[in-house]
Amino acid sequence: MSKTALIVDDSPTMRQMVAFTLKNAGFSVMEAENGKDAVEKVSTGPKMDIVVTDLNMPKMDGIELIKELRKLSAFKFTPILMLTTESALEKKQAGKAAGATGWIVKPFNPEVLLKTIAKIMPA
């Protein structure tokens, strides 16, 4: 059974590129356009093996999303990767404090993205 990934980004182009990269690596993906959309989708959807999320999004940003996901038993220990142009330390710290597992800076290299995902996916 293929691994499942939730991709959250308000940019459709960025979502498509992340989805393209992950699908090529054998993932089946679910997309959400912001944190609120993501929380709604996972509340009825299947459990995800990994979450890749942007931080700056309308309605519910990535930091809030991570906090919300960590409250759900199905996402308590799920690896969450922040994919963001913000390389500033305070954003990373806020994400980590919220429960993010790791981060990668946009623009991303597909190989680096997959390598980073492999790094944080359970053995």
């Binding site: 960025m14 220990f77 597909p110």
Partner: protein, 390 residues
């Protein structure tokens, strides 16, 4: 990366057009409502999105120019700068310029470089940017220069992860897996000294530390990068222990480098007999060794010849030795099983409902059936997996 993503360029141009419209309309509205934070956030997000996505296609001129706009917009939305008419005007002119930059990467149309330069400079001034000019990172240069000269090293690594390690979805096994990928990881020992009594354990808290020995030719930075997501919050000590000598065998290809420690490394755990080592190193031939071995007397024979022991006594001792060997062999094959005190099993059974969150289940109803034994064994295996990690 651009090749794979080229198919998404049209989607980007379409999306960028929408974002430009949001920025333009937003800036015009902002002149009327300069303190509208929602509006500023909306404009910022659009500029931010253009920057992030354009970088994916290698449209660096677009990404860099948008970055300057974004910096000023960030100061405005954080209240560090006020939306004055001149700033609003500058941002509108910059939006026009951004349009031409995007059009340029789309159609190849020429760009007025003077305007781009001038606006870039004005945006920087308006942001009162104290950003240092992007000079090459001296640290990165240093890494590159030392990486090539690396002769290999043995590192002693002591890692105490943050107690929230599991709660952020991090798996310590991934760390050791990655370390194995960059060198020879040995002597992995688990420090359980901080582990409280079983009844006091919070299963979501990490109480463990690891000591490891890594022989690698990789740079220290590569080792540190393995701990990338936990390093800042971990107690991590990477000590250089001793240098490795790197030997290249003439018959091996250039890529096959055998790394050996100064001490003799024993890979299968059993030292080789002296004769084998002498034959392997070419000191003596196999025939010479066989002849020498044929002359070799066994200790029992020598003792009988010296009248120190009778042949019967030696035979009795040999029988005893055979019995011990046979017992040792059966013990070896029995190591897959473990003995657990029944009191401890009782305690574990009592803990199972608490751990699984099934507090409503009455432990008195448990019978020790195959499924419970199996669950307990999974638990034990899981823990021993974390503890072993060798």
């Amino acid at each position: 990366m651009s090749n794979d993503f080229a198919q998404f360029q049209d989607a980007f141009f379409e999306e960028a057009g929408e974002h430009l419209a949001v920025v333009e309309e937003g800036l015009l509205a902002l002149e009327q409502h300069p303190e509208d934070l929602d509006l500023l956030n909306k404009i910022f997000r659009s500029a931010h999105s253009i920057k992030g996505t354009s970088g994916m296609f290698g449209f660096n001129a677009v990404a860099q120019f948008t970055h300057k706009m974004e910096t000023l917009l960030d100061l405005l939305r954080n209240g560090q700068k006020v939306v004055s008419p001149s700033i609003a005007d500058l941002l509108l002119k910059s939006t026009d310029c951004l349009k031409t930059l995007i059009e340029s990467v789309k159609t190849g149309a020429a760009v007025d470089e003077t305007t781009v330069q001038q606006l870039t400079s004005e945006l920087a001034t308006a942001s009162q940017s104290d950003e240092k000019p992007s000079s090459p990172n001296p640290k990165a240069t240093q890494t590159v220069s030392t990486a090539g000269s690396s002769q290999g090293q043995i590192y002693l690594i002591t890692w105490t992860p943050p107690e929230w390690l599991f709660r952020r979805g991090l798996d310590p096994l991934q760390i050791t897996k990655e370390l194995r990928g960059i060198g020879n990881l040995t002597d992995v020992t688990l420090d359980v000294s901080r582990l409280p009594h079983l009844t006091e354990i919070d299963p979501e808290t990490c109480y463990l530390s690891w000591h490891m020995r890594l022989a690698t030719e990789k740079d220290r930075k590569v080792i540190e990068a393995v701990f990338e997501f936990v390093r800042e919050d971990s107690k991590l000590v990477i000590e250089e222990c001793e240098a490795l000598s790197v030997k290249r065998k003439a018959s091996e290809s250039e890529n096959e480098i055998r790394v050996t420690n100064d001490e003799q490394h024993v890979e299968d755990g059993e030292p080789k007999p002296l004769g084998e080592i002498l034959v392997e190193s070419g000191v003596v031939s196999r025939e010479t060794l066989d002849q020498a071995l044929a002359q070799q007397k066994r200790v029992g024979q020598i003792l009988v010849e010296q009248h120190a022991a009778s042949p019967q006594q030696v035979e009795q001792a040999l029988q005893k030795q055979r019995q011990q060997e046979s017992a040792a062999q059966s013990k070896k094959t029995d190591t897959a099983s473990i003995r657990v005190d029944t009191d401890k099993i009782d305690k574990l059974i009592n803990l199972v409902p608490a751990w699984s969150g099934c507090s409503a289940i009455n432990p008195a109803n448990y019978s020790v059936g195959p499924s419970l034994i199996s669950s307990l064994m999974s638990l034990v295996i899981k823990w021993s997996g974390i503890w072993g990690m060798v």
